[in-house]
Symmetry: C2
Subunit: 331 residues, 2 copies
């Protein structure tokens, strides 16, 4: 059996294609009589509009593409994605937009994304974890509107975004350590080509000033293993550390393991602070004192920005949302 078309509906309702189309697209000039006849015809025939045909004439696709710029192996290590995907699907569905997922981890994938987007297959682009200097941003050029969840370093003024106030979060944790009377406060950062890597360190340095020497700073790559390594490094370089601010919960879990291996007790000998308030924060022992990012709102604001752009808004300002200190037992 063939799928019913708008013709079938029109015939069943005793009106013309045009009138059905008008009803479907919310045009105001449809008589009450026609309206009920068409609505009955639609439910009787089980008609569903053919998006391909529509998109052929409207030049819109009814879909938004989410571009994940992580290398394949590291994809989804960051639990923030889940929230973003969830919120995106939900909010887009309300506008009858569907969410298409694409990878942009290597050059081949990027090429595919560019072809897809420039080929007009999406009404909007949702960038995720796009790194500094990613050629993708340029290649996307003057296509459909793009936004990012989290800043794209170096493109802050061209790609609107919603993000947590990373600096604020780092200051909150560092100030908490200071208020507790900790005197040798170290930090394990994320990669220095990501907003979280850079700005959390900045916030840390803002509070400690010249006390934040390079001997007290180690770098990780967000993984648990890198956190463990960095912590071991720090303990070797500066054994009298009494607090450490780790730029992610996952790395903090690694740091806890290193501290345990070195025989330091947490929080008595060394206070440990994480960042993210992710699920690992409560499964470690002791549970992590950490910084909560308003993930849901970040995602919502990101989508809101994108929808506004799709609706034709001009330049839009970034949205920066406050973080919150969550005190548990590790500090």
């Amino acid at each position: 059996m063939k799928r019913p078309t708008i013709h079938d509906v029109a015939a069943a309702a005793g009106v013309s294609r045009g009138t059905v189309s008008r009803l479907l697209n919310g045009d105001k000039y449809v008589s009450p009589a026609a309206r009920v006849a068409i609505e009955r015809a639609i439910s009787e025939t089980g008609y569903v509009v053919n998006r391909a045909a529509r998109s052929l004439v409207t030049q819109r696709t009814g879909s938004v593409v989410m571009v994940l710029s992580e290398p394949y192996e590291k994809l989804f290590e960051d639990p923030n994605y889940s929230t973003l995907i969830r919120v995106a699907i939900k909010m887009l569905a309300e506008r009858d937009l569907s969410l298409v997922m694409m990878l942009a981890g290597d050059a081949g994938d990027r090429e595919r994304v560019v072809r897809y987007v420039r080929g007009g297959h999406a009404d909007g682009v949702l960038l995720v974890s796009t790194h500094a200097g990613d050629p993708l941003v340029e290649a996307l050029g003057s296509g459909p509107p793009a936004v990012s969840c989290g800043a794209v370093i170096g493109q802050e003024s061209v790609i609107p975004y919603a993000a947590a106030d990373e600096r604020l979060g780092a200051r909150q944790m560092t100030e908490y350590f200071v208020a507790q009377g900790r005197r040798r406060i170290a930090m394990i950062t994320g990669p220095m080509d990501t907003p979280g890597g850079i700005q959390r360190l900045e916030g840390f340095a803002e509070v400690l000033g010249r006390k934040a020497t390079s001997k007290l700073i180690a770098h990780g790559d967000w993984t648990q293993a890198s956190g463990e390594r960095a912590m071991a490094d720090l303990l070797e370089r500066t054994p009298d550390i009494d607090a450490v601010f780790v730029a992610s919960d996952l790395m903090a879990a690694g740091a806890l393991a290193a501290l345990r291996a070195a025989g330091r007790s947490v929080p008595e000998d060394v206070a440990v602070g994480g960042f993210d308030d992710s699920s690992v924060a409560v499964s470690t022992h002791p549970p992590l004192t950490t910084i909560r990012q308003p993930l849901t709102e970040m995602a919502q604001e990101t989508i809101r920005l994108l929808l506004a752009l799709i609706d034709g808004a001009g330049q839009l300002e970034p949205v920066i949302l406050p973080t919150e200190l969550v005190i548990r037992e590790s500090a």
Copy 2:
């Protein structure tokens, strides 16, 4: 500037639309001369085929929809999704299929999914965590082919799937406890309307036989909190437990907390075994002995099934993959 069409490419290459179309679709009858001319014209004009137009005539959409049947709040609690999404995007991209994500948590969402799929907007359906008796399965009816990652209870013979050998995993863990000389072995299951809930309990019971009394079995809902509650229950009902097999790592993390609160040491007093080998398994203290599921292969096999069906394969058998015992410090 308008996007170039197949006409523009044909004109630039000095051939007709038909020839360009044949080249694009891999028809064998294209002369070498025409081939190079067209290829140059394509790269000069930056032509990208318009999927909407194509799909209008071919009745194929070039996309597969992944349907997530969890209620909105619990979505993505299970880390397995990440792997599936990742593998799906990758494998589908190789076939130039794009992945669309949809939610089917409540009746409204389900209705949307059904409209979408029956409206012919997807070439295939990828079911995830569809529960027993979900009306979605029926509603999808005779649409495009559907597969599931993990069995859909009650629909095993109609929806092909790839899954881990849940029973085997449960037996491996239980036998390990027995071999260690543990005598009072309890279990915390998942929800009894999921394959993991049912079959892991079955494997457990297969090994213990009549020793698996209901006093030794508690039920959770996959959450960490439920694991903690279930463990507390068990300790109250049967204080002399010396091992517990928990049907997920996340719940096992909760169980560890309950054991710590009760003053039992792990693994000395009570051995704890998890399931999944997820990231929490290594961030708990002590790290969890657990069952590894071959997540990547499960995902790969699922997609492979779907692709085969899209290519016109008939009835397909489920693919069941072996699990593996991973020994850490909790048992």
